[in-house]
């Protein structure tokens, strides 16, 4: 069991090295990468913005309730902004990305394998890792931090909607608290987390898809593994990174 896990870790690491080696040749064909940023990023925008809005609104409600007990409800902006930028934004975006785009990447590559499309590329002397895997990996790697930024912005707007419009906090107070409390270090923490999570989720999706058993059940299983492993890995990495930033 432990040996299997270690072998899988090694296999993922070797695959990452192979993918990274093909990233620069893949960037030479920006059309493929841009198409994947569109697929993984732009097509996830609606779900990311919707979830960001509701998470921000819930944060506004809960935060207001809690802060009101201590008479410091004016600090709602700080709680919402720091909570989103440092923690909720990167983590929830990565989880949503794994569910929305990771599954699609995995099943697409898995089905390409099952229908001999990857083998056909190999036979045409085209490395499928360069043509199929690397652009998708890069697309996810670039899209996740951008989606996180959008999630954060919409989330803070949602918290403001509840705090200012519903609960009556002064808009000036809300925004000046946000401006005063959020520093570059907090933003950096969020950016680094989203880059790490984006790498992890995209890598797992392309790895599972590329190594999926070429059957309907095999592709289904690989897709499930992508979501489950991504979710666990994101939360684990989140703890490690949070501890590192303390």
């Amino acid at each position: 069991m432990a040996l299997d896990a270690l072998a899988k870790l090694g296999s993922v690491a070797l695959f990452l090295i192979r993918v990274l080696g093909q990233c620069i040749p893949a960037l030479a064909r920006p059309r493929l990468v841009i198409a994947q940023i569109y697929n993984a990023g732009a097509r996830s925008l609606v779900i990311i913005m919707l979830c960001g809005l509701f998470v921000g609104m819930v944060l506004g409600l809960q935060g207001y309730q809690l802060l009101e007990r201590f008479g410091s409800e004016s600090a709602l902006g700080v709680v919402a902004a720091l909570g989103l930028i440092k923690e909720l934004g990167p983590v929830l975006t990565a989880l949503l990305f794994a569910g929305r785009a990771g599954t699609s990447l995995c099943s697409e590559i898995g089905l390409m394998g099952a229908t001999d499309q990857l083998a056909a590329m190999e036979m045409m002397a085209v490395d499928p890792v360069r043509h199929v895997v690397a652009p998708r990996f890069l697309g996810g790697f670039i899209a996740v931090p951008l989606l996180t930024a959008i999630f954060n912005c919409v989330g803070i707007y949602g918290a403001q909607l509840v705090g200012v419009t519903m609960m009556g906090i002064q808009p000036g107070t809300f925004w000046s608290q946000v401006q005063g409390a959020v520093g570059l270090r907090d933003v950096n923490e969020g950016v680094i987390k989203s880059l790490v999570f984006g790498t992890a989720c995209s890598l797992l999706a392309v790895y599972e898809g590329y190594h999926a058993e070429p059957t309907a059940a095999g592709v289904g299983l690989a897709t499930t593994r992508t979501v489950v492993t991504s979710a666990v890995l994101v939360l684990l990495l989140d703890y490690v990174l949070t501890a590192a930033f303390l």
Binding site: M112, D116, Q117, A119, M121, M123, A125, V126, D127, H131
Partner: protein
């Protein structure tokens, strides 16, 4: 056949999957400029042989040489250079589903040849015209029938003007018209361009009409070889059974099973 004549030379190849021996001392040679057929009952490893020739699988023993190079020992860049000289028609076509018919055929050219767009367009249209699908250039693979997809895949396989063309079961599922067209196309590609052709098939009639030399595989070995006429004259039971398509003979039609009547008389679930 001299050694220099052989584009593909498979010598004493042993290959097993999961303990089951697919080949046990296989010897096959494909002569330059000829149409060579590889025939045999289902499950004799015909597709596995193609994988070995293309360097996708590696034999546990023996050597597979293509253009004189041992494909198992070639580093990936050299293997890719070799594959650019060989076209492979997959059994199911294996078209890239996110590209149109035109882009599928253009794919190898875009990857390997830096051609101006008008030249590329003309080349692709010429190959599509050869398979009768110039009018389908803008369709997506999901809009094609199985036979049409195979013809597009053939256009893609010949777009780089390969020296060797390998066909994996090219006649399966084709209507008589498409089959006739494909047979004539394989013959004319071979005759006019001198392309060495390797056809894996069990369509005895079509193969007999076009192959210069045939190998009949059974149980991991070549059981007969020669021109179609020679194979037809062959008296071995296994060859007679295959060429005439009868269920009785050394090649069992039924997968090994317990006695038929005994099994029917047993209560369900036992």
């Amino acid at each position: 056949m001299s050694d220099d004549d052989a584009v593909v030379d498979v010598r004493d190849v042993h290959y097993a999957i999961g303990g089951h021996a697919v080949f046990a001392g296989l010897n096959v040679r494909m002569r330059r400029g000829a149409i060579t057929a590889v025939m045999g009952p289902s499950g004799t490893g015909k597709t596995t042989l193609l994988r070995l020739i293309m360097g996708q699988s590696v034999a546990q023993r023996g050597v597979v040489r293509v253009f004189g190079a041992d494909v198992a020992r070639l580093p990936r860049p050299e293997l890719y250079r070799l594959r650019q000289r060989v076209g492979l028609l997959f059994q199911n076509g294996a078209l890239l589903t996110d590209l149109s018919v035109f882009e599928n055929v253009a794919f190898p050219l875009r990857e390997h040849a830096d051609l101006p767009e008008p030249v590329l367009r003309d080349l692709v249209l010429m190959k599509l015209q050869a398979v009768g699908l110039r009018g389908a250039a803008e369709l997506m693979p999901s809009e094609l029938s199985g036979g049409m997809a195979r013809r597009v895949a053939l256009a893609r396989a010949i777009v780089m003007d390969p020296e060797v063309l390998i066909y994996d079961e090219p006649f399966v599922g084709l209507d008589p018209i498409s089959m006739g067209v494909i047979v004539r196309l394989i013959q004319s590609l071979n005759r006019l361009l001198g392309i060495t052709s390797i056809v894996v098939s069990h369509d005895v009639r079509e193969i007999s009409a076009m192959a210069h030399y045939s190998y009949l595989l059974s149980e991991g070995k070549v059981v007969a070889e020669g021109s179609p006429a020679e194979l037809n004259r062959e008296q071995k039971d296994v060859v007679r059974q295959f060429m005439s398509g009868t269920p009785d003979g050394p090649v069992p039609f039924h997968y090994p099973a317990p006695d038929y009547f005994e099994q029917l008389l047993q209560p369900a679930g036992s």
